[in-house]
Assembly symmetry: C2
């Protein structure tokens, strides 16, 4: 396919994804139809199949985009230095990332869409996030078995509770520093 055509094709793909994100933020992750997103970009539903294999393929592309955005945020974070500082900054960044876009949080971290499973390609991005996390904790000498899992459970727990039970508020986000202290005190005394 010619470059000109390929570029236009890719641009339309992005346009479709952006319309899907907008609808998801407006009506919920699963609260929109292919006819809705088609109308947003000035098409009819079947025409979307020229750009994606179906609705699940759109979800898969959104899944990948979400993890790319998370990786970009992690890139801006310090990975070395005072453990309390590093973990605190990371925790705040992660929880902010989750609560700032609830449908994205559902797509990335909860298994919410009936038939959907991310492709191997997209799932690799999710594993990349975990791998970076592992590296950061190892740098801080926090790489006992289970430490990463306890850390992810703590952070996803805070973010999920915040998103589910107090959307827009700070009932759980304000506990982030306390959770970091708790985690760090516990891990350091057992190091």
């Amino acid at each position: 396919m010619s470059d000109r055509r390929a570029q236009r094709h890719e641009a339309t793909r992005q346009e479709i994804l952006e319309a899907a994100w907008a609808l998801a933020r407006e009506r919920g992750l699963t609260g929109w139809s292919l006819r809705d997103v088609a109308e947003s970009v000035g098409m009819r539903a079947p025409s979307l199949y020229g750009y994606f294999d179906g609705k699940d393929a759109i979800y898969d592309a959104m899944f990948a985009q979400g993890y790319e955005q998370l990786l970009a945020r992690l890139d801006e974070l310090p990975t070395r230095g005072d453990p309390a500082e590093v973990l605190g900054r990371g925790a705040h960044a992660f929880v902010d990332f989750c609560v700032s876009d609830p449908p994205r949080h559902q797509l990335l971290f909860q298994r919410v869409i009936p038939g959907f499973e991310p492709s191997a390609e997209s799932y690799a991005l999710a594993r990349e996030v975990l791998s970076r996390l592992h590296a950061i904790l190892a740098d801080l000498d926090l790489d006992r078995p289970g430490t990463v899992d306890l850390w992810t459970a703590l952070l996803t727990g805070l973010a999920s509770q915040q998103a589910s039970n107090d959307p827009g508020g700070d009932r759980w986000t304000r506990l982030v520093d306390r959770a970091v202290d708790m985690f760090l005190a516990s891990e350091l005394t057992r190091a």
Copy 2:
């Protein structure tokens, strides 16, 4: 309505709910249709409307049943004594409850079904669980502001990670005791 008829009606309601639970466990919380559950009980889909106002009403009854089951489990737990013992038993009971029935966990603790919101009546059961939890922690002198919220975040985080990322395994459930120690150490030093 006569007692005889009312009893039969209620029995059919329970039969429908049991069929819905079975389908949910088999194909996922949202992986079944009203026609499916109707076939399970030997009816056609529209006949279910004699027993429930629609699919969301079935979800609502399941939501209530789930929290009743959780309350029943909490009733069997000790509420006083050594804090490590009380919290440990409670944490294991809760996480077991979650991972033993993933669709129930999704229905009760994650906002997974597009239009569904529990009725006030059903939601009261959810608040009852939280109220009992608060009472237990207060008995142990763990009723600083935020302590209950941190505790629920920790437990739901462990349960969700287990259910989402290692179903059937024990990668997160085996961290429960460690999480209890971490939580308790942190709370006691600040009491």
